[in-house]
């Protein structure tokens, strides 16, 4: 697989090179809400202090709001996204791993979502390993790690003054070849990866996931769900900053004969999520709603796809206005014998 070496100081040159090669480039930038992926328009790239964007990179695969089809009278057509090549630079391993989980639902066995596929096939995810995880990070508790490469097209490792790049998919391979970088020596790559292993080793898992997983479901009726959800305000902040939450709602916008069919993010912690047309709501209370969120992350998705859906980025812990903490939920429900 192709590799590349870029001086940290010359990162802007690398990104400009990607732009010149025809990619729309996105990179982390300080925004009003904290860090966000923003279109890169040349100039210095300042990543000092960057760990995670406030909202995950999920929107590059599954935008918050998108038209899936247009209709006009009896005619209609899929509203597919433009086939422009995009480079998403500086994604963290947790977000990339979440992308690989979205892939199961939208691009894998069974239904293959045409909108998702266009975006996937035209976006290069360049994933930057984490050298300074936050106290709220818990990727090592959910089978991930600060240099985990799942979902990445290109991995980016820091090595002194250099950034070492390694392609991990055909898309990443093609991208690195197009940019014609100096290759990264094998021994430098190996040394850089080893340093990240040490960072990972310092972050002991919070639980034995294999043990906790069945317990969460067995304890479906546990009082602890009530306790943990008692402070939940039933907003959707957790789901909307989350890299792996992927439920959506659908609505038509326009007149009855002409308009757009929209798909947009939805959140299971909000009461209308399960509201039936009859007016009945099977999850009218917030404890069952929050339990659904945790069980989907830690149990149901695993039943369906053999993977944990929570990737441990900790964004929900930070975004929650009431400090509902998913780590605590798992510990509290699955904790004691």
């Amino acid at each position: 697989m192709a590799t590349g070496k870029v001086k940290s100081k010359e990162l802007s040159k690398f990104l400009e090179g990607a732009g010149a090669a025809g990619y729309d480039v996105f990179a982390p930038a300080r925004g009003e809400e904290g860090w966000a992926f923003a279109p890169y328009e040349g100039g210095e790239v300042e990543l000092d202090g960057y760990l995670l964007t406030t909202v995950s990179a999920k929107g590059f695969a599954l935008p918050q709001r998108e038209a899936v089809l247009r209709y006009d009278g009896d005619d209609g057509e899929l509203a597919l996204p433009e086939e422009t090549k995009r480079l998403l630079f500086g994604v963290r391993p947790c977000d990339a791993r979440a992308l690989a989980l979205l892939e199961r639902v939208y691009g894998g066995r069974g239904f293959r979502d045409p909108h998702y596929l266009v975006r996937r096939d035209h976006t290069v995810w360049a994933v930057m390993a984490c050298d300074l995880p936050a106290p709220t990070c818990f990727c090592t508790s959910v089978e991930g790690g600060p240099a985990e490469a799942t979902g990445a097209d290109v991995m980016v490792y820091k090595a002194g003054e250099d950034l070492l790049l390694q392609a991990l998919s055909p898309k990443g391979e093609e991208f690195l070849k197009e940019l014609k970088l100096d290759p990264a020596p094998d021994k430098n790559l190996a040394k850089a990866k080893k340093a990240y292993e040490e960072i990972a080793a310092r972050r002991a898992p919070l639980w034995d996931l294999e043990r906790a997983r069945p317990k969460l479901y067995e304890r479906f009726e546990a009082e602890a769900w009530e306790e943990i959800a008692s402070r939940c305000v039933s907003c959707g902040a957790c789901a909307f900053v989350c890299p792996s939450c992927h439920c959506f709602d659908v609505a038509d916008e326009g007149k009855h004969s002409r308009g757009l069919r929209l798909r947009f993010w939805d959140a299971c912690t909000q009461s209308p999520f399960t509201l039936h047309a009859s007016g009945h709501n099977p999850r009218e209370r917030k404890a069952p709603r929050y339990r659904q969120r945790v069980l989907h992350k830690f149990y149901y998705f695993h039943e369906n796809w053999g993977e944990n859906l929570c990737v441990g980025c900790g964004r929900c812990v930070v975004a929650c206005p009431a400090n509902v903490d998913i780590r605590e939920a798992v510990t509290l429900v699955a904790g004691e014998e």
């Binding site: 009003e32 406030t54 936050a134 959707g236 902040a237 900053v241 947009f264």
Partner: protein, 330 residues
Amino acid sequence: MTIENDIRAKARELLERDEAEVVIGCEEGTTPLTARPALLREAAEADRLVWNRYCTSGLARYVLEYIRERRRQRDFDASAAKKVAVVAKPCDARALVTYIQENQFGREDIYVLGLNCTPRVDRRRVLEKVGAYRVQEARLDGEELVVTTTAGGEARLPLADYVEASCAVCAHLVPPLADVTFGEAAAPPEAEEAFARVREHEARSVNERWEWVRRELGRCLRCYACRQVCPVCYCEECFAEQRHPAWIGPATAPEDLVAFHLVRVFHTAGRCIECGECERACPMNIELRVLSEKLIQDVKEKFGYEAGEDVEARPPLATYQPDDPNEGFM
């Protein structure tokens, strides 16, 4: 920490003597700089309660939610119901007054552990300064906040520079409603500090204000955190989610975001109690208080009314006077 101990002692007593079935207060959070709502039902849990610089959570809404939920129980017997106790900052108490004015529950349904207030810490500004994912630990050292970072550094931040924005302009430092009161109130801020943000916004040109709308409201995720924490945004069904008719679109089209925030804030006119929870709850740091403060200012200037001060008062939008200002009517 005598206030904290007094609160705990009272909470313990209320639960022990069965005078309250729940005490709603704040407890230590799971991340630095955080305290969070806690609903206690056992006297033995009373020591979970804290009263510190991070206690910003609005608790009144939990009272309303608790009482509503209780009423929904099939076996609920109103005559046998015990009180819902709440540790209330003045803003919480003002929200409780509003609930009583609006007939959501009666004064007799609640027991209020009122707090004479002092300003809280602005957690978001601390995170902005140090980095949202960089705070390892935080502790108070006199009038300084000492923050250690994940990079091993230490920042010493003067508390006076990190006062919660809504507290910095708050002149309501004594709860208007309380069964027992704790602590000493801080001196109110200088009068000119009130509405400073509104004046700043009003001084902008039309184009600059439009730019503000696009930048601030335009990044809304429509997670509804602002609405969900707002003490007076308690409709069982929100206009924003009604589909028949659909007043606004369901997603994040710019016009829908603007419509959502403007209509929501208008629904709080004469009712907003300036707690600032909307802005604190917003994961996107939207300057929501520019809108709510403008309405507070208008209601104060035109109707001489401040929300949540007096249970007997008639809110301006629930009453009519022949000499009401009719600006805007054709």
